[in-house]
Amino acid sequence: MCSVTHHTTSSTLILYLASSPMILLPATLAEPQHFSLWERLLIVGLAAASAFLFWQRFGVVLDKILHSKKDADFRLFPIGRRIFDFVWEVMCQAKVIRQRPLPGLAHAFVFWGFCAFVLVTLNHFAVGLGIGFLDPKSIIGGFYFCFAAVFALACAVGILGLFVRRFLVRPRWLGKKLSYESGFIALLIFVLMVTYLASFFVANASPTATALWWIHTLALLTFLPIIPHTKHLHLVLSPATVFLSRGGFSKIPPLAGDEDFGLVTGKDLTRLASLQAYSCVECGRCTEHCPAANTGKLLNPKEIILGLRGYLNEFGPASDEPLLGKYIAQDAVFECTSCGACEYQCPVGIEHVPIIVGLRRGAVNTGAWEDDHGGKLFLALERGSNALGISAGERDKFIQKQALPIFDGTQEYCLWLGCMGGYDPKGREIVADFARVMEYLGASYGVLRKEKCTGDPVRRLGNDLVFQQLAEANLEAFAQNKVKKIVSICPHCVRTIQDDWKEYGTPPEVEHHSEFLARHLSQLPLVQSQEKIVYHDPCYLGRYRNTYEQPREVVERAGGLVEAPHSHERSFCCGAGGGLAFLGEEPGERVSHVRARELAGTGATMVGTACPFCNSMFRDALAAEGEGVPQLLDIAQLTARSLPSTESGSAG
């Protein structure tokens, strides 16, 4: 803690350091003696060499980014969101701090220290050339140098903390190999700060002041060329990456033209993708939260981004070399559940999901991906109506058995069943219970006679052909049936209808049943149990839709809400997303088992879900855990329990 006070009698500022014992510093920055012409020439020469070495590498990187394909969907406007992201994520370091408070704060101190140092550094060189513009003895200069000193101290402490973390604590997501370059950079930053602070303690124009000036200068000039050669490139690039990011969580860009099949070769890499690849700071937050990386799979989101960088370094953006190969493994790309935890965590604005889906598009749209289960899913959706590959007649039978009203354009809501709600036994139970709640509330609703899959699994697996067919067929059916408002039990359907279909038309308004239920809670009977219910945030409801509180309100009305260690935006995937529910066995440990164990470990007697895919995954995973595991119900089922019993029984 420091405070700066203005000394009344002179322009000297006193810097009080609130440490014990409190010390009083005469806080005037010492400047070196005037330099001779030769010395000035040496300074200019060294600075030019440093700048040259910086540009030698940075120019190449910039060239690779600018020679990548233009992002066809890029729009600078609305610019407000970009400015907000920039101020919040870059200037305030909000994401860096919020998601990892201690190292985040240490990083923020280093960042803010650098910001405060811009003026100091400019003046530093100006002094060397005899044209210093900030006089330490002036009020403004004196104040600014003290102000910067506070930041310098915080920065020195911060970088020391980060050094200790990287070399002594060594969290595993920073990678197995120690990065000595990071150590060297930390040393340089430390030297910069210490030489600056030390200048307050030496006499003006003394040989020591000159020596400190030179050490500071040499540290700076060494630092500059290192930046573009290392992950410290993020210093230069990441502010731009955050500002220019596509925005909208996990947004999959439309294909541009007849020759765009996704990310196939270097020629398909867009400027945003290349910029993001070079911006990666290798902090490993993505890896730390990745369900695949945490269950022993090949996929590591950080390595995907670094793989792109490696590719760009070797082949460049004009290459015909396939992207999946030397640097990125196809298997890894198809292990992603598209849960978006990586993208959510990334502090430098990298959008992992569009890149991973882009690579899948490249493999699927060209037929390079061969997978028995995947092929079966695609064929089921090419020809049939649902991802489960079941005859559409089975859905008709379910609707008849449950006597669900058919949507005829007069009702307020179209109740969308989805593949799980229409064909999966457990999904049908959820739909049946949600329909009971709607009946009780007197909501007018109906179900469509025919539905086709929204295309969520094929969209995330990168099959644009089938996705387009499904989206167009459904949009047409909605238009024909005059559907205005949809409610669905499946967050995947909700997301796909609301966002992904926009590429092919204007979808109706759509909401998730948690939102519907939360809105009507006061009209439902209050039958609270003492049961402890742990709520699992589905990725597509939480991170994708920002709906965290409504399902919790529903759960709290049914019993006592328990939070899992990973909850809200840090929720851990059930393993079903990204089409993976249909891909069969997974290498390593099953994601669903890891999550189910975590949920059961909370001591709750009930697991509350809000997604039929999560429900299906946990059904199997909890069963595998054996005896004494919590029960499993969707929030619609938790709500329906409070209704007066009717004879309507089991669905399915």
């Binding site: 037929g367 092929g375 064929l379 049939g384």
Partner: protein
Amino acid sequence: MKIIVAIKQVPERDAQVRIDAAGNWIEETDLQWALNESDAYALEEALQLKEKNGGEVVVVSAGPERVGSTIREALAKGADRAIHIDCDDLNQRDALSVAKLLAEAVKPESPDLVLTGLQSDDLGYGQTGVILAALLELPHASLILHVEKTTTGLHVKRELEEGWFQNIELPTPAVLTIQSGGSKLRYATLMGIKRAKTKEVRRINPAELGVPASAMVALERIAQPQKQKSTQILPGSAKEAAAALVEKLKFEVRVL
């Protein structure tokens, strides 16, 4: 190797089929159409042969305008070009009449191999391919699961009953009717669809082929199948019953 694949467009598997007013055909409006399943396997076999040995795959299909979508699907999956025999009266033609159309279209191509599905999913005659072989005066084999090119001709794997298979050698040119399930079908890709746009589809009508609209067999009446449920108890110990069940699932229900 030049391979011709004769394909048929049939109602989609999930389609709600209704009988038309005349009572001898189905209502075709509002129906969704798809490639006949065993024809899809014939196409897959042809594409795999081409990938291994090089050559050309030409699809030929008879039917009205709507057949175009199925032809494009075949081109998207990798066929090189197509012949569309444009006829609106396909359902009034019997297997012989359709085989004549196909034979006339195939002859000028002088292919090394003609493949087609074992039978159609709608009419299920199982005759067209065999008659086609007779009309072309070529050797043929039916119920084929797998085809391999050898130095002298072809090596094929035929499905017999009760889980038995027959491996035989055939000279080329030949006609084979393909059984479903022999290989894994490839999915249609966006790139395939885009590339298919520039592929040649030659349209030709029955008159040009010199085949009149005649039929020796006519459909009198069609009816919806009667639903019936039957339960079968498999006797024996759990182990025996399980073995019998696996047998049935494999060879009767064909889901394993």
